[in-house]
Structure formats: structure tokens, C-alpha cells
Symmetry: C2
Subunit: 410 residues, 2 copies
């Protein structure tokens, strides 16, 4: 199957034009007009490549060659088209385009029976509804219809309201779940989004584990008071407490081992006036580590450091864990298949790594044998308009994907 970089570039550039912020990176929340345009581009390409498609109740798109029925056991490959605000043009898109390119190359070869289903997962990033991987979690059933009715986008619409025009259906969700037996394995191709591969000139790598993630909403409550006439000893300054906690969160990974990271990405204070001591500060914490023991230790330390910063200033505090996803070890036999395919393409020894970022692959891994293939990100820049990966590297990874799926699944 002749994988062609020029078609891959054309798809990435076409999808990049579907954004709420032309010229300033990708802004493509799930179910938005820009997201739908991107999805429709993919569907049009799939139809031209002789495929049929369906949208499941969670809003994910599934695409197979017309010669492959929906009941046949196949390989699954794909990723997402939604982006963070001010995001890049490669995150997620590369994995969708790679799967489509394999289907396109097979069609060009006159192959209408390649055992591959391409998938576009809805809302991976978590910035549209405040929680990530909603499409894959809805599909496998770890989020039910009520849970998805409880998240809202910035227009105040819940998942079902936002997705109704695009095939999402709360009513059908329970009946339209993933059947693991339908899939021999998931191979998700994605950009690394970190600097390690680029630094070491690893163009393509096999991912053997995905770090677990815990997210938290932290609230500190003090007393609003006049910034001029309240002595430093008489204050209950919620932002000063938050600043101490955020500085401590930055040091937390030192305790948790090599691949742990911790990030405070959002903060808001009230009343947010230049001359008023803040009465309330709310911030998020995103904590990741490659094993669950480290996550558990991080959880304990986080609670202790927030409590200490609050106590020192007479603040009330509250920590809500908004998400907890365990670390995931990917599938050994499928990883061996990828290594063997790499050997066949002259790519051995293939670099191997751990994903610090979460992906839909982590959601499906407990149910379907799963691996990921990473493509190097220039300088590790991601979630940023400057995000970039070499087309040659994406094409190489796509050839590796094609070699894996061009074998009848057992």
C-alpha cells in the first residue's frame, strides 16, 4: 500500500483551516462548526476511498472499507479532531489522517477488504466540557448518559445538547457500546507533544505505557479586605495562599520520580480588584505519573501542601478530585507485532517511550489490546500554534501502521 506524504500534508492543512481562530492556531471544540467541518472533510475523503461510516451514540465516527462489514473483527486506528484553545494543527489530527491514508492507499491498491476501522473520537482534550476523552469513555461505558448530561460547554450546552446535530444520542448510548470482540487491537498514532524524541532524534517510537492522571479543583477562601489599611498580620489572603500552594505543586514531581509532572493551568480569584485582598482563589492541578503508587503519593502530598498554605493564613480550603485515571501498561503481544513490522520496514530497533499525555488509547486499553505509535514533535511544543511534526516522520509512522494492520487479525 503506497502511503503518500503529499496526501497527508493536504489533509492536515485542510483540517487546520477549520478553526475559530484563523492564523492563530487551531481552536476546534468538539461539536463546534469548525469541528464539524473537519469531520466532514474526513468523511468526504473516506467516501472517495470507498468507505462507509457510522456515528456511534457517543458521537464518535467509525469508518470501514465498504468490503468490510460492521460485524467483522478488525484493527482499530484513529485519534481526535478537537483541539484546545490556541492549539496546534497536529495534535490528534495526525492519528486520524494516518488511518484515513491507510484506507486511501488500500483503495488505490484495489483492496476493499483491508481489516481496518478508522475512528474519530469526540472530545479528547477536555477543554470543551471540562473533562477529557468523553467520546471514548461514553463508548466503553465508564461515563453514562447522565454523566455526559452533567458536563456543559461555554455556551451552557451539555454533551447531548451540543452533540445532538452531530449524531450523539443519549437514548442510544447504552445499546451502542464498544463490543471488544469486534476489535483485534487499537493502534493510535499521535505526536509525542514532548521534547524527548526530538532531542534524541527519534523520528518514530513505540509507546509501551501511558502515565496516569489525576486532576483537582482547589478552592481557598479568606476575607476580602482593603489592600491599604489591613496590616499583613491581619490578612486572610486567598491568592497569597494559592501562590504558596502553586509554587509547592511545581516542586511536587521531584518527590514522585522521573516521569512525574504537575501543572496548575487555571486560576481565578475574587473579587479580582487591584486594591482588594482576594477572598477566594480557585485553581486546577493536573498530576501525572507512570505508576499508580506515585500518583497516590502525589495525592497525599498535594492535600498536605494545600492544607499547610491555608492554615498559615487562616483560610478555609477544599480539594475536589475531578478526575482519576490510572497509569496504563500497553499490550505486549501487539507491541511485538509493531516491533516486527518495524523490522520489516528497516526501522529496527524502534525507539520506545512512555506517554506523559493521556489519550483515548488509555481508555480503550483495559478492553482492547492497545499500543500507540509516536511521531517526534519539534522542540516538544504542543497545545500551541507553533506545534509541528515532520511530514516524513508522519508518513513513516503511517507506513508502520499500514504494515501492522495489513494482516488478518487473529
Amino acid at each position: 500500500m503506497p502511503i503518500r506524504g503529499d496526501r497527508i500534508v493536504a489533509d492536515i492543512e485542510a483540517i487546520a483551516r477549520f478553526t475559530a481562530t484563523p492564523g492563530a492556531g487551531s481552536d476546534r471544540p468538539s461539536f463546534s462548526a469548525a469541528w464539524r467541518q473537519a469531520r466532514d472533510h474526513v468523511l468526504a475523503e473516506a467516501e472517495r476511498a470507498g468507505c462507509h461510516w457510522r456515528i456511534d451514540a457517543a458521537g464518535n465516527v467509525h469508518i470501514r472499507p465498504r468490503g468490510v462489514s460492521w460485524s467483522r473483527r478488525v484493527w482499530l486506528s484513529g485519534s481526535h479532531l478537537d483541539s484546545v484553545p490556541g492549539g496546534g494543527d497536529f495534535d490528534g489530527v495526525v492519528g486520524v489522517v494516518a488511518a484515513i491514508e491507510v484506507l486511501r492507499a488500500a483503495h488505490e491498491d484495489g483492496r476493499s477488504d483491508v481489516p481496518l476501522e478508522a475512528v474519530v473520537f469526540a472530545e479528547e482534550e477536555g477543554t470543551t466540557f471540562g473533562l477529557g476523552m468523553l467520546g471514548s469513555r461514553g463508548w466503553i461505558g465508564t461515563l453514562d448518559a447522565a454523566a455526559l448530561a452533567g458536563v456543559r460547554n461555554r455556551h451552557g450546552k451539555n454533551y447531548w445538547e451540543a452533540g445532538a446535530d452531530q449524531g450523539a444520542s443519549a437514548e442510544r448510548l447504552a445499546a451502542d457500546r464498544l463490543r471488544p470482540a469486534d476489535y483485534a487491537g487499537l493502534i493510535e498514532l499521535h505526536i509525542e507533544q514532548g521534547p524527548a524524541m526530538w532531542k534524541h532524534d527519534h523520528r518514530v517510537a513505540l509507546v509501551t505505557a501511558i502515565a496516569g492522571r489525576r486532576q483537582y479543583a482547589v478552592v481557598l477562601r479568606g476575607v476580602a479586605n482593603h489592600a491599604g489599611s489591613t496590616g499583613m498580620d491581619d490578612r486572610h489572603d486567598a491568592l497569597a495562599g494559592a501562590a504558596e500552594a502553586i509554587a509547592a505543586v511545581e516542586c511536587l514531581p521531584d518527590l514522585l520520580g522521573d516521569h512525574a509532572v504537575a501543572t496548575v493551568g487555571r486560576i481565578a480569584v475574587e473579587p479580582n480588584a487591584v486594591n482588594v485582598i482576594p477572598s477566594r482563589a480557585e485553581f486546577t492541578v493536573d498530576l501525572r505519573a507512570p505508576d499508580d503508587d506515585s500518583l497516590e503519593l502525589g495525592d497525599e502530598r498535594l492535600r498536605a501542601l494545600v492544607a499547610a498554605a491555608a492554615q498559615r493564613r487562616g483560610l478555609e480550603h477544599e480539594i475536589v478530585r475531578t478526575e482519576s485515571l490510572p497509569a496504563v501498561r500497553l499490550d505486549g503481544p501487539l507491541a511485538d507485532r509493531v516491533r516486527a513490522a518495524a523490522g520489516g520496514l528497516g526501522l529496527a530497533p524502534l525507539a520506545e517511550t512512555v506517554s506523559g499525555a493521556l489519550h483515548d488509547a488509555a481508555i480503550l486499553a483495559p478492553l482492547v489490546p492497545t499500543v500507540m505509535i509516536f511521531v517526534a514533535s519539534r522542540d516538544g511544543i504542543s497545545h500551541n500554534p507553533a506545534e509541528f511534526s515532520r511530514i516524513d516522520d508522519i508518513a513513516t509512522a503511517t507506513r508502520l501502521l499500514a504494515a501492522v494492520v495489513d494482516a488478518d487479525p487473529a
Copy 2:
């Protein structure tokens, strides 16, 4: 002149009802509908007390007994009606109501010639247009028409556009300035807004100095990147830098002596997403000290600590000083008059203090002999709906004001 607490309460309660947030404290930005209703209440009371009034080009209201012409040299007393968002019902209002109560008491006594002008300064707080004491600074000429055209409220209207319906006029400003010879002195009555007087049970105090204030806008710029796949050593996290700086700002007053305070009241980050390393953090600093040397030292240390936090993380930084008001020593002879009047009322020895908060009095002090009289604030709470001062204490302070102004100015 019989000063009556019941009338003072009635005014404070009436004005408190004019707010954009009923039941949640005062929210009365200058020139808003709520502010205008409060001002109209004061004007109606003044007219009932036999007064005439005018609005100067900067939007400040001036009220005199009808028997006192605009050219006569008089005492000046008043404060402001605008509030911070989520503010209290006493800040500013007490000083306006006290001056009105003296005019009302004089009128009741058949005195149409008491040499007192009540004043309502426009926009003292600084939260409406991002800069404080605009009315008094416009009146004395330290802000000209162009400067006031350069500040905008949250509706995007500049000072002149927002104030046009309420008497403000850029065209008249240069000709309608304060003439210092018209005023024998300014006595501004205000709540303390700090805990010191309440702690020591000082009901009323003479203010002999006002701390100077410098305000800053600080911006840190890093790189937006993925919170999961970017190692801690590869980050340029603008919020982590801001947190270190904010924690250091909290410690800054320790270096600057007893009455110094420093506050970070506002913060905003971009892109403000749970799983993206912040690329930009912007926060304000409000620094106050009772003498200019301490302010200068604070300025130096602030710049150094921001630069250090930025450098450690490879961030760009920028510090803009948005306001610089020197510390003000109040008028000695006028303070002696207040002490003498306190003696006559059995209030000697009158407590004396320094104001950590800035006031319109600090703006007029270089041009007109000025003092302030403070009323204790319960637990020092201010800029908060829980703000409270005893009506008895306000009435005592108003009697002191009446005793000072009930003497022909020299």
C-alpha cells in the same frame, strides 16, 4: 447644631439600596445607574436642607447652603459614593452623609450661612476605570482631559463618555479647576477600613498622614505546552513564575517597616486550561508605605524578585508602574483645630493614626490644608459586604466635624 444618628442611619441605608447586587453588598461604579441614584438621594437631602449645588467638569458634586455664595471661602468636607465590586455600605458613604448631616443640622438651627461645602468626589476607588481618585485628580489638574479620555470602564466607555449624562465635561475641565483660595481646609471623614482602631477601642481618630501607594502591572511570558508530556525541566511556566513572585510580594513589607503593605489583587493566565502549561500570567501589585523612601526600596525589591522568578524559568517579564502617589503628611494647624474641637466635646485625648488607605484627601493635601477623621471599622473588614461601623461612632465624628467647621475660616 443637633447631629442626629437616626438621620445618618437612614441615609446610609437608603444609599446601600442603590447597588447592582442587592443583598450582596454595594456595587456602585461611578456614573452607573446605582451611583446616580445614590447621588440623587444626596442632592434631594441637600435641597431639603436649603442648599444649592453644582457639578464640576470632572463630575464631582459641590453643595453649599443657599446663603453661602460659590465665591465665599469655606471649609470643605465630603468623600465618595462609588464602591468596589462586592464592597461595603460605609466606605466613602459615611464621609458624604456626615457632611450632609452637618448642613441639615445647621438648616434645622436656622443657620443658612454655615461656611461648609459638602463634596461628593467621582470615582475614588479605581475599580471602575482601573485608576483611582479620578474626580479629585481631574479637579486639581493632575489628570487632564486627555488622560481621563484614556481610561475605560468594563463597557468600553472612557471617563467622559461614561460621565457625560452626569455632568462631566472634558471641554470645561481646564476652566473649572479647584481654586485653593476658595477653601480654608478639607476635613474628610471616613471609616478606617483596618483593624487597629477597633482592636484598641478607639472610636474616632485624627489622621495625621496618608501612606503613599504604587501600583504595578506585571506580565510574565513563557511557552504554552502540554501538561502531560512536557517534563518539569523543559517548561517555561508563566503561572509558576507568577506564584513565586506573588509569594515573595507577600514577604516584601517585612523589609519596608511597620506600616508597609503589599497586595496582589488581580491575576489572569492564558490559555487558562487545566491541561496546558500557562504561556502568560498577568497580575497587579499594590504597594503602600508611610514614607517615600520605603516605597522606593519596595519598588527596587519588587523588580528584582520578579526578574529572579522569570529568569529561573526562562520567562520574559515586564513591569509597568501604573500609579505612583507619594506619602502625604497632613496639615499641622488644621490638626490642632481638630484636637481643640475634640477637647470642647470631651473627646480629648483624641486617638491619632496613619491611613494605610489612600483617599481624595491625599490628592487635595498639597493644595488645601487637609486632615482626616477616622471612624473605627468592625474587625477592620472593608471592601466586603460585612463592612460595619457603629452609628454612635459616626455621629461622634460628625459632631467633631461640625465643631471644626462651625467657625468662620480665617
